[in-house]
């Protein structure tokens, strides 16, 4: 088995290296991917269309908004699947754990966490809201926000973190994020445009169509942030307790 795998991989490697010889050399501005009209259009027109300086955010939330919406749905469904896979099954689990965690929360660690968790959460909100002009956005801010709850669970106990953010509320918040995202898309659909065509939101808000796209992107990122926050914490809570939601790491 291993020998067969090795030979197979050697063959694939030779093929791929042979193909890699024909790639454009590294950093070539005239390579097909870089000189394609789509990428050039994004670079040239993002500022005029949406007034967002960060092109990645603009392409992510506006031009390719449909893609991002269903990526968010994928994250949501994955979290839901992890929860429901681990929840059921035989009630008597005889397998013992390898690790025995046997001490109470440490004073120094809990006090430090008490100090830095608000900072982390404010930073996560900053990353989410400032993603238009600097690196960042819904995914990064959401993951940082979820990490703050994971930090609470690691330093105290899973019960403490679940008291703040119960697992049912996790999925409510995650679904709420998708509803926000799809709701903004549907709103622009009802206002006469197409789905996720934010420029038509200018008909009900007192801004120009470009600024309407700018602010709708912020709303969309907030939806993504909700979903990712909740799902990251739900992933951790499910996996660390084997679905029992107690006796966690």
């Amino acid at each position: 088995m291993k020998k067969a795998a090795f030979i197979l991989i050697l063959c694939i490697g030779l093929l791929l290296a042979w193909a890699a010889k024909d790639f454009p050399s590294w950093g070539d501005p005239q390579s097909p991917a870089s000189s394609s009209p789509v990428a050039s259009h994004f670079i040239a027109n993002t500022g005029v269309d949406t007034e967002v300086p960060n092109m990645v955010t603009a392409v992510l939330a506006d031009y390719r908004g449909f893609d991002t919406m269903f990526e968010t749905v994928v994250v949501f469904i994955a979290g839901l699947a992890v929860f429901s896979i681990l929840r059921g099954g035989p009630k008597n689990r005889t397998r013992d754990r390898e690790f025995v965690v046997d001490f109470e929360p440490d004073l120094i660690v809990t006090n430090t966490v008490r100090l830095i968790v608000p900072v982390i959460q404010i930073f996560a909100l900053y990353v989410l809201a400032h993603g238009h002009v600097s690196p960042g956005g819904g995914f990064q801010g959401g993951v940082a926000m979820g990490a703050s709850f994971i930090l609470i669970a690691l330093s105290w106990d899973l019960k403490t973190a679940l008291a703040r953010f119960p697992i049912e509320r996790c999925f409510t918040v995650a679904a709420l994020g998708i509803v926000i995202y799809a709701g903004i898309g549907l709103l622009s659909l009802f206002l006469g445009g197409e789905f996720l065509d934010y420029a038509h939101l200018a008909k009900i808000f007192p801004v120009s169509p470009e600024m309407a796209r700018y602010h709708a992107m912020l709303g969309v990122e907030i939806g993504v942030g909700f979903t990712v926050t909740a799902i990251m914490f739900a992933l951790y809570a499910s996996l660390s307790t084997d679905g029992r939601m107690r006796d966690g790491l």
């Binding site: 754990r97 390898e98 690196p135 990064q140 951790y236 790491l249």
Partner: protein
């Protein structure tokens, strides 16, 4: 030239770390080495100009996925056979 040297160094280190994370028998060590791998990837992308991807990798790859891996190994056997 300086950046190219940096690039080359990180790329060579990436292969070493990837092999190491599969070589180690202890799964916790494997997860931690995988976090190092993710962090090197994050450096590489920051150097290539993909700042958003670097940020995402720093939060997701080096942060959450390590925690998730260790939380899973916590419920499994720690030693792997190979």
């Amino acid at each position: 030239m300086g950046l190219e040297l940096f690039n080359t160094l990180i790329l060579c280190l990436l292969v070493v770390v990837a092999v190491l994370s599969l070589w180690v028998r202890d799964l916790v060590v494997s997860a931690v080495v995988f976090a190092i791998y993710s962090f090197l990837m994050c450096l590489l992308w920051a150097e290539m100009g993909a700042v958003d991807v670097a940020f995402t990798e720093a939060t997701v790859g080096a942060g959450v996925s390590t925690v998730v891996l260790i939380a899973t190994v916590f419920n499994l056997k720690r030693k792997a056979k190979d």
